[in-house]
């Protein structure tokens, strides 16, 4: 096992419950559970081949998506890389539009021009995503520049992976964001692998946080399996930025329970130890948080079951909607090459 969980779970967090408020604590859980169930359903149906799109599931990475996005307002903008499902749903994206996009339908988020890696919806501030690793980083930085020049008083957040930090453009973006003190949060989900390549074959043994700090941005590590830690840290960063701190870089150590892309786990191919995954699964963001809430009498088992029932219905409706949605037409292809 190369990469082990080093956090403390929710130990000590019961002292902070009043800070969050009961309704909000439950809401965070609902959002994570919903993403988990949506992802599992997508996975389960993937080989039906109605979703003719690559998928990058966020099973295991729900706490980062929900924690980080919950610190944002609608007017704050989110950018992401290829792993968009969690970001899109966390930011409040419409499930029907998402599934339509994944089913290549004309009423998908971007009219079947993007697929699962380009779940974009300005209505909820899901501003853009790039399927090129690191590609969204300067674009988000440019959005932060525009916000600064136009005095829009919002915050930009961009998701990246550990692999994304290796792209030259990541350094270029951090440098420029620090130079101009831009209102941006670089949120790095360090899941230790780029496809099947472990971190240790790609980077020297050093803290990503320390590396980020070298660009003169504020940087901090959080437990990416702990939604409260993620939320609190992101919220502090947002407030700090509003007070003029300039950019933040947040590294969340977390684990993806599935293969880099597609359905199912591929650990058995040998690039990572199955025991490593199993160890992280004990730290499952959804279940560990559920147990924490139940221990503290904030969530009851029946409540969780009710939630699951409700979400199941929502998912089924959304899949039915997507499957029955219209196909794009030939004339659609030639639209939007140039902008009017």
């Amino acid at each position: 096992m190369r990469y082990t969980y080093e956090g403390n779970g929710y130990k000590g967090w019961e002292k902070n419950l009043d800070f969050f408020g009961k309704d909000f604590l439950v809401e965070l859980f609902y959002k994570m559970l919903r993403i988990r169930m949506i992802e599992e359903e997508i996975e389960g149906r993937y080989h039906d081949d109605f979703m003719k799109t690559p998928i990058h599931l966020v099973i295991g990475q729900e706490a980062t998506a929900v924690g980080a996005c919950s610190a944002l307002k609608y007017s704050d903008l989110l950018y992401s890389g290829h792993r968009t499902h969690g970001a899109y749903l966390g930011k409040g994206g419409d499930l029907k539009k998402m599934l339509s996009e994944m089913h290549c339908k004309s009423n998908g988020c971007v009219g079947s021009r993007g697929g699962s890696m380009h779940l974009i919806d300005p209505d909820v501030g899901m501003a853009w995503s790039s399927a090129i690793v690191g590609g969204a980083l300067p674009i988000a930085t440019g959005a932060a520049l525009a916000s600064q020049v136009r005095k829009e008083n919002n915050v930009i957040m961009v998701f990246l992976g550990d692999g994304g930090t290796e792209e030259g453009v990541c350094s270029e973006s951090l440098n420029f964001a620090a130079l101009k003190k831009l209102p941006i949060i670089f949120f790095c989900e360090n899941n230790f692998y780029s496809v099947q390549s472990p971190l240790q074959t790609r980077q020297p043994k050093r803290d990503i946080v320390r590396w980020a700090e070298g660009h003169d941005v504020n940087a901090i590590a959080v437990d990416g399996t702990n939604v409260l830690d993620v939320y609190k840290t992101a919220r502090n960063a947002v407030e700090d930025i509003k007070n003029g701190s300039g950019p933040w870089f947040i590294e969340a150590k977390v684990y993806r329970f599935r293969a880099h892309g597609g359905a199912g786990d591929d650990s058995k191919t040998g690039y990572r130890d199955i025991k490593e995954r199993e160890a992280w699964e004990k730290q499952c963001p959804v279940n560990s948080y559920s147990s924490f809430l139940m221990r503290n009498n904030i969530l009851a088992n029946q409540q969780r079951l009710d939630m699951e029932r409700k979400i199941k219905i929502e998912i089924k409706d959304a899949f039915d909607f997507a499957l029955n949605s219209p196909e794009p037409q030939k004339t659609d292809l030639y639209q939007f090459v140039y902008a009017d």
Binding site: L77, Y79, C109, V110, G111, R113, G114, H118, I120, P122, A127, W128, S130, I132, G135, L137, P138, I139, A140, T141, G142, A143, A144, L145, A146, S147, Q148, V149, R150, G168, V169, S171, E172, S173, N175, F176, L179, Q335, F336, V337, Y338, A339, D340
Partner: protein, 346 residues
């Protein structure tokens, strides 16, 4: 005087006719257009390496920071890919950046953001976002620019859907096309030519635009059509004067923009002349020459009286040395000779 300045200063251009109106140098015309754009629209910003230094990008950006402030006119880190993405992101959020480079060679570092992002954003997101971005650079030539500081890369980019490519040849067009490019909502590249920076010409003081996608007949003629843009027009002009003396009447079409390409103006001219020579400042293979030549075969074959010819750069990188350069770049004489061959009845 250093060799490079001496060479560019020694270029001789036709004197503009002062009766036409106010005469401005090429960089001054650009400076005026940028100034007007910044004054007229708070979303315009000008950035690039050294835009606020004393040499001010050949003088094109002189005084702009002082007049419009550091928030909208600023020097950048040496991060071509990053800055191209930053411009793209800012453009998608309501800014109109003009990102300036000394040389197109530096844009090659930013191809990921330019080609794989900026040009496609509007298409990929089904029209949700627009990218009103201008990328500007001046093609180098001579004084040892060599393989890495002289690349005319329009040919690499003409096949990228979503980009517009502008290549002005006069101070008048430089100003009008710059303003048009800034107001355009698609990413637009402007390739100037370093050698045109010494040219002067008639430039009205007012704000005016030159349309993107429309060429102009610079010289009417009945025997042969020469099509090109930018500095190639200068050479075509010189050649056409020589040819007139020997009784060959050349029509010179300045495309002004090579993407979108003005097919109509070429087609109309060929109906009259039936002979086509394409000249370009870039490589002949696979670029502007190749594209226009193919269109001729596809659309205007029945109008042609002789095979289409092209004059671009030969299939080798640019040499740095002065001697080798003489064999590398097309000249007015090459053009005249080619046209003469085309007119000889077989």
């Amino acid at each position: 005087m250093p060799w490079d300045e001496g060479l560019v200063n020694s270029l001789v251009y036709d004197e503009p006719d002062p009766d036409q109106g106010r005469v401005l140098s090429y960089p001054h015309a650009l400076n005026e257009s940028l100034d007007l754009a910044l004054s007229g629209d708070p979303s315009v910003m000008i950035l690039g390496q050294g835009v606020d230094d004393p040499s001010a990008m050949f003088g094109t950006t002189k005084g702009l920071r002082e007049r419009h402030g550091n928030a909208r006119v600023f020097d950048t880190p040496l991060s071509e890919e990053g800055m191209m993405g930053i411009c793209t992101g800012a453009a998608m959020r309501g800014m109109r950046p003009v990102y300036m480079h000394n040389r197109p060679d530096f844009i090659l570092l930013a191809f990921n953001q330019l080609i794989t992002h900026a040009s496609k954003c509007h298409f990929m997101d089904n029209g949700l976002n627009k990218v009103p971005l201008v990328v500007w650079a001046a093609i180098g030539r001579g004084w040892g620019s060599g393989a890495q500081h002289s690349q005319a890369i329009q040919g690499l980019l003409i096949g990228v859907p979503g980009l517009k490519i502008v290549m002005p040849s006069t101070p008048y067009d430089a100003k009008g096309l710059m303003l048009e490019a800034i107001y355009d909502n698609s990413p637009t590249l402007i390739f100037e030519h370093r050698w045109l920076m010494k040219k002067s010409g008639f430039v009205p003081e007012k704000k005016y635009t030159v349309p993107i996608g429309k060429g102009i007949v610079r010289r009417e003629g009945k025997d042969v059509t020469i099509v090109g843009a930018s500095h190639a027009i200068e050479l075509a002009f010189q050649a056409s004067k020589k040819l007139f003396e020997i009784g060959i009447d050349v029509e010179v079409i300045d495309l002004r923009t090579i993407q979108p390409l003005d097919d109509e103006i070429i087609g109309n001219s060929l109906k009259k002349t039936g002979r086509l020579l394409v000249v370009d400042t870039g490589w002949a293979i696979g670029g502007v020459c190749a594209e226009i030549g193919f269109r001729a075969a596809e659309k205007w074959f029945s109008d042609l009286k002789s095979p289409v010819r092209r004059i671009g750069l030969p299939d080798v990188p640019t040499p740095a040395g002065y001697g080798l350069e003489q064999f590398f770049y097309p000249t007015a004489d090459n053009i005249a000779e080619t046209v003469r061959e085309m007119c000889v009845k077989k």
